[in-house]
Amino acid sequence: MNGNTAAAQRPWGFIAGLLSRAGFSGRTLLIAAPTLWLLIFFLIPFLVVAKIALSEITIASPPYLPIVEWTADGHMIVTLNFGNFQFLLDDPLYISAYLSSIKIAAFSTLISLLIAYPMAYFIARSGERYRNILLMLVILPFWSSFLLRVYAWIGFLKSNGVINNFLMSTGIISDPIPMLQTDFAVYVGIVYTYLPFMILPLYTNLVKLDEALLEAAADLGARPMTTFFTVTLPLSLPGIIAGSMLVFIPAIGEFVIPALLGGPNTLMIGRVLWDEFFSNRDWPVASAVAIAMLVAVVLPIMFMRNVEANIAGDK
């Protein structure tokens, strides 16, 4: 136990201290249980992935060669195969999948922001009674199945789907517009499923906005647009950042939406990993993609989150 805790001054703290020296404290157990669990089921798996990313594919079960082998006379042979990573750099598929994931996630985030901002603003400015009902309506779709919400768009977007049938029956178009299995459908799917994640942090921020500031700006002669861009928008920046992270992060590794709504040309890194594993059964390359994703996607995101948390902490 740390001697500086106030708890150590109390009788039970003394006893707990004795026990902990014997290695039996509740405190130790309390910290050890979740730590050990996450070490075994979260951290060690990544070491296994890294190991398999460096091994060679073979036709066996499991389909990779061991990287450490023992010879008959007791020598250890370590075979590290960096070919999988070289392969990722040589084949343009992986680089373009990575870039296209970033592009799709970034644009979806921007579109979500443009749709969510007026909604969040309207909800934050409406009466207390309606506010709760509107918020409930925003959250409700989030609790229902993600897969089924994506599925709903298949019925909407396909060539004999709801939208095309409506447009053709009104005579606006004569032939169905191909919408399903395009990048457009992927954007719609991502914006649709993650819109609540954008609205909620924006709402939380905008509801705290002091209306006196807006009145002051108006009294000083600012037009509504000027007030918005010089007062409301800068003050809501933390909400914009928080909402954008909540949309961007899950969107970039998305598998389900590009698999169901996207076409064969919709490249996203999560889908590439899935195909390497399930279609090609190439475990080493799938592991190499996972490690590359970890370094090129997850680590920058965690770094950004840290910076964001520090900025929020300073204020």
Partner: protein, 265 residues
Amino acid sequence: MRRHWLLPTATLLGFIFLYAPILSLIIFSFNDSKLVTVWGGFSTRWYGELFQNSQIIDAARLSLIIATLSASLALVLGTLAAIALTRFRRFHGRTLLTGMVTAPLVMPDVIIGLSMLLLFVAMQSMFGWPAGRGVLTIVLSHATLCMAFVTVVVQSRLADLDVALEEAAQDLGATPVRVFFDITLPIISPALISGWLLAFTLSLDDLVIASFVSGPGSSTLPMVIFSKIRLGVSPDINALATIIIGVVALGVVIATLQMWRQSKT
């Protein structure tokens, strides 16, 4: 002023965007025609066929069992992690625990699924456990993912909790265990309930991780739905979606009314 009609219109369009696909799912679940998007008269036949489909019923039962087990396991582990992080300012491995608890929140599903599978394969070849893949491996994976979410929810509640209450109980001679069960637990119980529900929903909803770590004969509901959707739109999935949305809507409305009643008293 322009703002008077612009904002409500944008909001209305936003809600139409959110609800139109869901409403069309519900409407076409009562459609007699096999062509999902052509209206052929009112019928409840797809609901009948849904309950005859043993593959879907079995998968739904399995998913509910897995979600209950993983959410409960995640609740215990996540609460322990939250207590450790809020009540003990300094201990060896605090940074490690913080990092490992928050990382699953930003980790893509495909990476978690692949890494868990490779771990289970390696463990099986080294220790012979877990033997094969199925419900156990899905529960272990889901509990690991969900505990991160439980930790966040419980941690924010614990941070708001007045430490003086716990200290008063301690000064009156209660043991730490007694303090936890008599003081802390009742106060944080709303957070525990919402954490459990969030974990339950996440597990019930997961397709990607379950696809990696499941074995033969342990297909969860999302896995069955996904393979059916890949073959095309089918009306019994619409019926299933309508049931799920109905249950969820009822639950959310009841929870909201409950919260209103509590905030009024």
